[in-house]
Amino acid sequence: MSIPLVPQLLRSHLIELAENDQRLDGRGQWDGRDVQLEVGILGNAEGSAKVRMGDTIVYAGVKFQTMTPYSDRPNQGGLMCSAELRPVAGRQHEPGPPSPESIELGRVVDRGIRESGCIDTEALCIIPGEKAWQVILDLYAISDDGNLFDAFALAGIAALRNSVIPLAKFELGEDIPLDVSKTPIMCSYHRVGGRYVYDASGREELGGDERIHITLGADAHVHSLQKGLKGTFTAGEFAELMKQARTKGDELRDLVHSLEGGN
């Protein structure tokens, strides 16, 4: 484990900017970077997406396997979400076993999707007690310039909504689209220079404090929350973030839906 030096100069600079309501790259407090979302771009995956938010670039790929249902849930298949932070994604990402940071990242993204109930695990059953589909969503960062959480969550739900169950490959009939009933969207806020900002860049993360992740569904239903890193926040601060997440979440949900023909 290497210890990042606390960049005191960077922190001072970020405080100064915040006092003038400015950010390093000129964005406003609640502005996100440009988002590019592509789906269906991986030849060997049953569903896929690529997200670019500024210089942060991630892929999501969906594969299907058959599994034996758990004995206490004989009518259900499974959803597994795995996030890999490989050293390709940045100078600071060293090879080795998954760090606590990357475990948290994977689990928070996973819960945001899973807990929304967007996938009906009973619909994944093939033969009760014997065979069911396991949906495996793999998240893969190629370039980390901050806010991998939101990039992974966006790529993940877009890839799932773009997936086809490969019945033909398993000699079980004709391929059918995977039914995904919701579009949970994560919005992450980082305390930088003393105030929260949306979609922190890599340098803002480096000089920032605590982080709050909010995953919302339609009608502002809350599906998942997580506070990470050292720091405290007030009820008032949280209420403002929730308000911002409602607006931004709807915007990104529209982006996902805009790529889907029939929706």
Binding site: G106, D219, S224, Q226, A235
Partner: protein, 239 residues
Amino acid sequence: MGYGDVQMIDENGIRVDGRKAGDVRPISIELGVVPVADGSCRMTWGTNEVIVAVYGPMEAHPRKIQRQDRAVLDVRYNMAPFSTSDRIRPGFNRRSREISKVTSDALESVVLLELYPRSKIRVEIEIICAEAGTRCVGLTAASVALADAGIPMTDLVVSVASGKINGVVVCDLNKSEDNYGEADLPMGILPNSGELSFLQMDGDLSQEEFQEAWDYNMEAAMVIGGYCAEALKNGGYNL
């Protein structure tokens, strides 16, 4: 699974274990339970049983983990193999790693680590018997054990979770409620400042339900914070 079929709350709003919506399960706190540690705490909460030992501040080694300007806080959350209905295999476990990390983040927010440069403080959270809400019990007990070890802090962290069951928001889900629960909102609250250093949530809550669960947690945290303060003054609570 047909939640509607299992009625966990009766027409008078009374839960299966006799509690009202906002009530917390019974809690006891005992200090000094690990004689070889610098500070320790045993907390029972419902039928949860948690032991926390604190070691340090001591020299951080190997040297590469040392921080020049503060102590390193090394927090581990672990479930004993016999703590649950199905045995847990010892070893690497992603759930425990994540809970260890968020617990550490929550405690770092209150411990005055900058008083102990180049040193290490170890916080060992062991779940001996698990009902529901072990991460909350572990975090609360850890902040008490740190105080028992004489580590300076700006505040305790008191953690409690509210949730939704049969469409009703209630405080501090027990095991049977957790099995049928539709959402869970654990929070870590600083009783003096009212700020939060820990927050998670899973499931489905409307904005109104969310606010209700938040408020239950805030109220409960003040009560439990009182228990903790009493235990630290008198060497224990409710024994």
